[in-house]
Amino acid sequence: MSRLWRNRRAFAGITVVGIRTFFTYRSLVTFFMVSMLLQVYLLKVVWTAIYGSQPRIDGVSIQTLIVYLTLTNVQLHFTFSDVPRLVRNRLREGQVATDLTRPLGFPAQLVANQLGGTIAGLTLLLPALPLALFLGGLSLPASPVAGLLYMGSLGLAYLIELLIGMIVGLIAFWTLEIWGIQVILGFVSRFFSGALVPIWLFPGVLRKVAEVLPFQAIASIPASIFIGRISGRGVVDAIGLQGIWIVLLLALAAWVWRRAQRRIVVQGG
């Protein structure tokens, strides 16, 4: 921690680089945003049809469900970790050699970079919120307290996604190519995050699987707190679960990083 404090200017500097790099990829991010909004809209259409004339399914009204789906999808856009792509590129181009001769540790550089990307990403995401409201649906949180807890839970969700991104990225130190892993992970995490079908509607076994995976902690938990589906004692458990995931993933990431350092092969001499 004290080391990070000494390096705060370095960290901030890399964050600024992350912000500036983001703007070179802005058009790509815009496409992601458009597809996210389209997905929100299609989910609304499909789920409205499924609900038909039923006022509630499993205690949740269609209006609330649409808010939940809109939130989870917007959130996934916000928490998205670009770290795997970053690590893969640095390794492919052999630039990792330079990164490793910096007085700021490689993992810290990755975090700073992603933070920059997220900050810059907000300049696109915030203006898109009214569109999300229009194509999907948003409402106020279930209560002011739920709103506050939601913000906290969203922060933890961001950390979980960041740590998963780190671990996946560091795998590239062994395999160099992680595109396949990224594709599979992209699908699995989206599905089990509960952003397409809410986890409470998953059938028995699938629901158990979703509950032991970390992905629901990224999307479903914060959004469920927001709409009041998780409340009271349940919130403590849910946020506690997020905390446990952070500790576990942090330990795993640290372990993988320790081993990755011995695996370094610099491409291109």
């Binding site: 680089v17 001769t101 007085p103 092969v265 001499g269």
Partner: protein, 335 residues
Amino acid sequence: MGRVIIRAVNLRKEFSRPRRQTGRLGGLRTLMARQYDITIAVDDVSFEVAEGELVGYLGPNGAGKSTTIKMLTGILVPTSGQVEVAGRIPWRERERNALDIGVVFGQRSQLWWDLPLIESFKLIGKLYRVTPQQFVRNLDRFTHLLGLDAFLATPVRQLSLGQRMRGDLAAVMLYEPRILYLDEPTVGLDVVAKERMLTFIAEVNRESATTIILTTHDLQDVERLCRRIILIDHGRVLYDGPVERLVDRYAPHRMLVVQFSSTAAPALSLPPHADVSLDKQESGKVWIRFDPNRVAVADLIAAVTRQCAVSDLSIMEPDLEGVVRQIYERHHLAS
């Protein structure tokens, strides 16, 4: 000579790569079989470098130069052996070590591709905790020395190779590292750019007493800059010492080049001596190889001019390149 700042003891680095299976489902079988090919990039390398030295680290492609540098800089963890730089184990204290060293790779840039050069410099200043006064002073000095004014505001990706390399050199000097590793810094540069680079390196070494390790396969760079060279091949040190001694030890011979007055070369009988031989002969010109420690040049010249009319005479010193080529050839035959 200052005290030892870099110490490598029995340094060794192996790389293991999964053995690629070919044929049907080759990729999958590569994953499953888990057979590895082991390459030894650096094999039992030991040396010490004193503070303020400028050492040429030489070897053909694939000799293990870059791998050694990457262990010294802390990028790679040695398979075995010890490495110590300024009292630290580089890979174990990578971040602290980074403040003491500057690394320039000729093949890649440490600058940020999308940022203007000056922005990259500012970021380097932040990363390496350069004080504002130090930053301004050094930026001034190196901008002037390396002639960077014209392109300080240009994004790095638009710079020419020569400009980029100068930018890279200035970037590492901004925080005045104690040790500078230059890995093939002149690769691909034209004569002018190269000259500028070499002058700068010499100056940095002289003025700031920066310890410099320069890897290259260009022997002219080394002859210009280094008093000491370490020669490696196949991951092993073949020679470590002054440049002149290398020449003396491996190539004691000189060449007497004689141009005769007539184009038809006359039959020449050389003094019957084991250390004198006719090396080459073409239209009116002969190359006579001799060992100046055994044969007096004057006697040799006298013997030649006695026999025929000579229009020109010169003595050729062996160049480092020839010497090194000889050593490599001998080494390849032996191994």
